[in-house]
């Protein structure tokens, strides 16, 4: 539990509002991940075209060719990194659904305990509470893993940014192909920037401020 956040709650039975809000946040994170995957695919195609262009430019664009190849590898790494995020997101959806279901069942069991004198039901409720706590903790650990995976993705994108900037410099040595290579490297820079801003907005999601 994290008592410092506005959304933190006192126990599993009170988790419904946060779980409902979490589900919405997860959906938004997932949409952003889909955007990054689309952009990663775009970089892959762009890098392939750049490799062909560099081949045509010959020795003047050797450095550019190497960087294009690196950018292609970057797009594949980015794709893998998004796959990790997606599977963590699926885990979060599962856990949030369990927390939502727990919350309803706990509410009904609590009402039944209040209305009945059967002590065994109280034990069922306590076991249910403990189970709910486990689900909340598991969600908390997935939340942290997702945060770390996003940090990893952000570092990867930093590398992509460096590659795109280096490609810009290499383009200047492209002689008669310089203009075309400069255009391609500017495009690289643009799409990497697009990914960077997507990831930044993901990292700012209030989902990571939950417990």
């Amino acid at each position: 539990m994290n008592p410092g956040t506005a959304l933190a709650v006192s126990g599993p039975a009170g988790n419904t509002p946060q779980a409902g809000a979490d589900l919405l946040r997860i959906v938004r994170i997932n949409e952003e991940i889909k955007t990054v995957v689309r952009v990663a695919f775009k970089i892959n195609i762009m890098a392939l075209n750049a490799i062909f262009l560099a081949k045509r430019a010959g020795t003047a664009a050797l450095g550019f060719g190497v960087l294009s190849n690196e950018l292609r590898i970057f797009s594949q790494d980015l794709r893998e990194s998004m796959d990790v995020l997606t599977s963590l997101i699926h885990g979060c959806v599962n856990d949030v659904s369990l927390v939502l279901q727990d919350s309803r069942h706990t509410r009904l069991l609590r009402q039944a305990v209040a209305q009945s004198s059967d002590q065994r039901l109280n034990r069922v409720l306590m076991a249910k509470d403990a189970e709910n706590e486990r689900h909340v903790e598991h969600l908390g650990s997935l939340r942290k893993q997702l945060g770390r995976a996003l940090d990893d993705a952000a570092r990867l994108v930093e590398l992509g940014g460096v590659l795109a900037k280096s490609a810009k410099i290499e383009a200047a040595y492209g002689q008669t192909f310089a203009a075309a290579l400069t255009q391609v490297s500017a495009d690289f820079d643009g799409v990497v920037e697009e990914i960077r801003s997507s990831l930044e907005s993901l990292r700012r999601s209030t989902f990571f401020r939950g417990n």
Binding site: R104, L108, A112, Q115, S116, D118
Partner: protein, 246 residues
């Protein structure tokens, strides 16, 4: 909390109706649950929706040890019939659920595992309860396509699920039908709209007309007893069902 009313008793062989919760929210349809006990065991018929679990559990516990409840019988798959299943299983994970084979893989969406369900074949089956044999009587398409009623030939009681159901206005919600003609007006619209097959209805009427029934207990509304049982069967036999204004 709901109230309990013992409608049949012979030693520890009992039928207990669990009915009428004054605290129930109006947007939930009112339901009757029935507990049948024999020896030290009990079976709960149409245990009800999840939202009314607290009211049903506490009423039942006031009358019978819920730990001795070995099974539930679900006449069909509707949420008002058995969406409380997961909660009953929290209390007793070994509890079984008798239900039409048609719904054996649908109801687990409410709760339960493969071990929970005893699939009833279309022709019906005997359901044992510590020396007593209850009969699952086919009532398919009334209204659900896989639908059973439960007959106790010793108590001469037929639990009839949604057949015989009435949506009673406040002030006219007695447990037993006392004025058939007045009562049946509250049942007519329900039967015309919810029951889908005249052929199935005819077969059900022929079947139950041959059974000895002192009480016909629906899942909604009031219980028919004595001559009102036959009156109901004749009324239903003549009613055209599967009627929709749309």
């Amino acid at each position: 909390m709901k109230t309990t009313k013992t409608i049949f008793q012979d030693g520890n062989h009992k039928w207990v109706a669990i009915v009428r919760d004054p605290e129930k929210q109006n947007y939930l349809i009112d339901t009757n649950e029935y507990l049948v006990t024999h020896g030290s065991q009990g079976i709960l018929l149409d245990p009800g929706g999840a939202e009314i679990f607290p009211a049903v559990f506490s009423a039942l516990a006031s009358e019978f040890d819920p730990g001795a409840l070995t099974a539930v019988f679900a006449s069909h798959q509707d949420p008002d019939i058995c969406s409380s299943l997961a909660l009953w299983l929290e209390f007793n994970p070994k509890m079984r659920c008798y239900v039409s084979w048609l719904w054996g893989s649908f109801i687990p969406h409410f709760g339960g595992t493969q071990q929970t369900f005893v699939n009833l074949p279309d022709e019906g089956a005997d359901i044992p309860l510590e020396g007593l044999t209850l009969k699952a009587v086919p009532a398919h398409y009334l209204h659900s396509s896989g639908n059973f009623h439960l007959y106790d030939s010793v108590a001469k009681v037929l639990f009839s699920g949604d057949v015989g159901a009435a949506l009673l206005p406040p002030g006219e919600d007695g447990l037993f039908v006392t004025n058939f003609d007045a009562h049946i007006r509250h049942a007519e619209g329900f039967h015309k709209r919810w029951m889908g097959s005249n052929e199935a209805k005819r077969r059900w009427c022929e079947r139950v007309a041959q059974m000895e029934i002192d009480m016909l207990c629906p899942q909604h509304g009031a219980i028919y007893q004595g001559a009102d049982v036959q009156r109901f069967i004749s009324w239903f036999d003549e009613l055209q069902v599967g009627v929709c204004g749309g």
